[in-house]
């Protein structure tokens, strides 16, 4: 038996856990124990999946006895299993952080009891979106995670959260409707929604129809991934949610959109028909996002803007559709999930220690709480891409791929990437100078808490511990960048080749349609 047949458990375990925690809604300790152990088990399972796929190649699992192209299939390849592992690590860390916060705060602020089931449903939705080999099932996965995220976003139902929740829900529903329209049109044009089957049947359509379907999918995923003209909703809605919720949203939800873009770009619409518009959009995402970040004075909003900006790097890597570019993008996604999440977790700690997340009110944190300063400094430098951190390595990979491609637009993107990286450093340095470096008295409106010296017992150990763990994972990505780049490049090669994916779903006898445009020169592994 192939171990990959266990992959449905990655969705089932969190859903069963959600049911169990829902039944235990009055027993908080039991809830915590159940959700933490369920997520640990899922993480373990996904590590097994990654190992089995790494050795045995892409595997598909047919569900319910309906064989593809009729039934729903789950496909585990290197990219999806890597995403699963990274997302589980992050969601486990955030869960531990959130339970720490819940234990410290008691039940006064939020209905904590509803948090656990909703959170597990969110994880199940993310896993489903990563695993599925069926376009409509991808839609269902998105809806599962979005519906859970609506609840988490408006947790507690305070005024600002409801206001932010309205924007978020309406935008998400509109993007889901667009996605559904695209699915309907694709089904009307080809008569199938299985991705592997679509890869074959879409190639038979004429170029105009293909472009229409392609653009519709890209717009739907672009809203979810917060790519520039469609990114307006993100900085408005994310910062108001509770700190752990913002952290997991920032880490995972936009990346699910990026994952869907990568999957459709490589599998359904290979070649370079839309590469130029994608590159332009990537450049604008990087620059507009980071310029927005510079204007902010709230750390959470600033980080939300850097999140938008760095989505541009991933779209850039995707738009090159070469092994080097896509591999670097895969690496960058893994790096960015951990780093962005840990920065939001640290911001939650800053808010607890300093009483505010506005850099106009903070000051002197480096002296008051050196550990906090270190916890902020390491992922912040990682985000800005200072050598030797993984952010630098990911950006370097993207730049190399861009230079290798050599078109004027690619070079412009390389320059734009460097500028964005420097501006990120500037934005981060602004936070550092004000919140950590200056004296508290120099702040415009200093918070009262800052005048009390020492760690006045407001930072629970579990919260600090989980943040430390995630920061360490971020640093570990730097240490193990070599093997990780190998996995990323391998998965990029498999995705661009498409044969393994299609054969694992439809059987080896299926003829994979040739690419209309040959792939750009592919570079070897670094």
């Amino acid at each position: 038996m192939n171990l990959a047949t266990l992959s449905p458990l990655a969705v089932l375990l969190p859903i069963l856990g959600a049911a169990l925690t829902f039944m235990l809604i009055r027993h908080h300790t039991a809830q915590r124990a159940v959700s933490i152990s369920v997520l640990s088990a899922t993480l373990l399972l996904e590590c097994v999946l990654l190992a089995s796929v790494w050795n045995g190649g892409t595997t598909s699992v047919t569900l319910g006895g309906w064989f593809p192209p009729w039934g729903v299939v789950l496909v585990v390849d290197q990219f999806s299993s890597l995403m699963l592992v990274v997302s589980s690590v992050v969601s486990l860390a955030v869960l531990v952080y959130a339970t720490g916060q819940g234990m410290a705060d008691g039940d006064e602020e939020a209905p904590v009891s509803i948090f656990h089931p909703t959170y597990l449903i969110l994880v199940a939705g993310v896993s489903n979106a990563f695993l599925t080999g069926d376009l409509f099932n991808l839609y269902v996965g998105f809806e599962i995670l979005l519906t859970a995220s609506y609840v988490l976003m408006t947790l507690g139902g305070t005024g600002p959260r409801i206001r932010a929740g309205v924007t978020y829900v309406v935008v998400s529903v509109v993007s889901s409707v667009l996605f559904l329209i695209a699915i309907a049109m694709i089904y009307g044009a080809t008569g199938t929604v299985t991705l592997a089957d679509l890869a074959i049947k879409l190639a038979a359509l004429d170029q105009g129809t293909q472009n229409l379907l392609h653009v519709m999918l890209l717009v739907a995923f672009g809203i979810k991934a917060a790519v520039f003209p469609l990114s307006f909703w993100l900085p408005d809605s994310y910062p108001t949610a509770p700190a752990p919720v913002t952290a997991v949203f920032a880490g995972l939800l936009t990346k699910v959109g990026v994952y869907a873009m990568v999957r459709t770009e490589t599998l359904l619409f290979p070649g370079d028909t839309l590469n130029v518009p994608l590159m332009v959009v990537a450049l604008l995402t990087m620059l507009v996002g980071i310029l927005g970040a510079l204007a902010q004075s709230d750390i959470k909003r600033l980080l939300s803007f850097t999140l938008v900006s760095h989505i541009g790097y991933m779209v850039f890597g995707l738009a090159m559709s070469s092994v080097a570019g896509l591999g670097a993008a895969v690496f960058y996604v893994a790096h960015h999930i951990t780093v962005q999440t840990s920065l939001f977790l640290v911001t939650g700690l800053i808010e607890r220690r300093g009483g505010s997340s506005s850099i106009d009110r903070l000051g002197g944190l480096a002296k008051l709480s050196p550990l906090l300063a270190l916890l902020f400094f390491v992922p912040a430098m990682n985000l800005a891409g200072i050598p030797p951190f993984s952010g630098f390595l990911g950006k370097l990979g993207l730049m190399q791929a861009g230079v290798e491609l050599g078109t004027p637009l690619a070079i412009a993107l390389v320059v734009g990437g460097v500028v964005t990286s420097l501006l990120t450093l500037l934005a981060i340095a602004r936070v550092w100078n004000r919140a950590f470096w200056r004296r508290p008295e120099d702040a415009e409106y200093p918070a009262e808490v800052l005048k009390t010296p020492g760690n006045i017992g407001v930072l629970p150990r579990t919260m600090v511990g989980s943040t430390v763990a995630l920061v360490v994972v971020g640093v570990a990505l730097t240490l193990f960048a070599g093997p990780l780049f190998k996995v990323a490049d391998g998965s990029a090669r498999i995705m661009l080749d498409r044969t393994a994916y299609i054969h694992s779903v439809l059987g080896d006898s299926v003829q994979v349609p040739p690419l209309r445009v040959p792939l750009p020169r592919t570079a070897g592994a670094k």
């Binding site: 409801i162 924007t167 699915i183 309907a184 415009e444």
Partner: protein
């Protein structure tokens, strides 16, 4: 694939009304718009199923070309359930907005407004650095005196004047 013109026209009208309504500022209208959009999309999915026909389970003898495509109907069922859940949630949010703010309109983001109003001059980042914050003067005072005669020059000059008169 046969096309049902009535369905298509209904779909178009629903889309038009839905898009018009989600551009409104009132939350209830936005919700109605979203519901219309979801239903229009359901009709679109239905029309991708092709001609009308018997259900596949009608009888054992149903010919493959006598029944219509069941898959779009399964897709529609799923999407109806999903839009039902989202509508219920939206209603909850709208009610909560009404309770909290007594209004049914989308509210501005205060932080957005504040950032937009912030002048480009930032007191901490952009202010002229004070002439001298250390007791070890690095710049020759003569060069500074020309720029800022009032701040540093006046006390010195007044003392010298006093000394001169006395």
């Amino acid at each position: 694939m046969s096309i049902n013109l009535t369905l298509l026209i209904i779909m178009g009208v629903l889309y038009a009304c839905g898009i018009y309504l989600i551009l409104e500022r009132s939350l209830t209208r936005v919700l109605l718009g979203l519901m219309l959009l979801a239903n229009a999309t359901n009709i679109l999915i239905l029309s991708t199923g092709g001609y009308a026909g018997l259900a596949p389970l009608y009888s054992r003898e149903t010919k493959p070309d006598a029944y219509n495509d069941p898959l779009p109907q399964a897709l529609i069922l799923t999407s109806i359930v999903i839009s039902f859940a989202v509508t219920a949630f939206m209603l909850g949010i709208i009610y909560r907005t009404w309770l909290l703010a007594r209004q049914d309109e989308i509210q501005d983001d205060l932080e957005d407004r504040r950032v937009a109003k912030t002048p480009s001059f930032d007191a901490e980042d952009d202010a002229v650095v004070p002439l001298e914050t250390t007791e070890f003067a690095l710049i020759p005072p003569s060069a500074e005196n020309r720029n800022k005669p009032d701040a540093t020059e006046t006390p010195n000059s007044s003392t010298t004047q006093e000394g001169g008169s006395a």
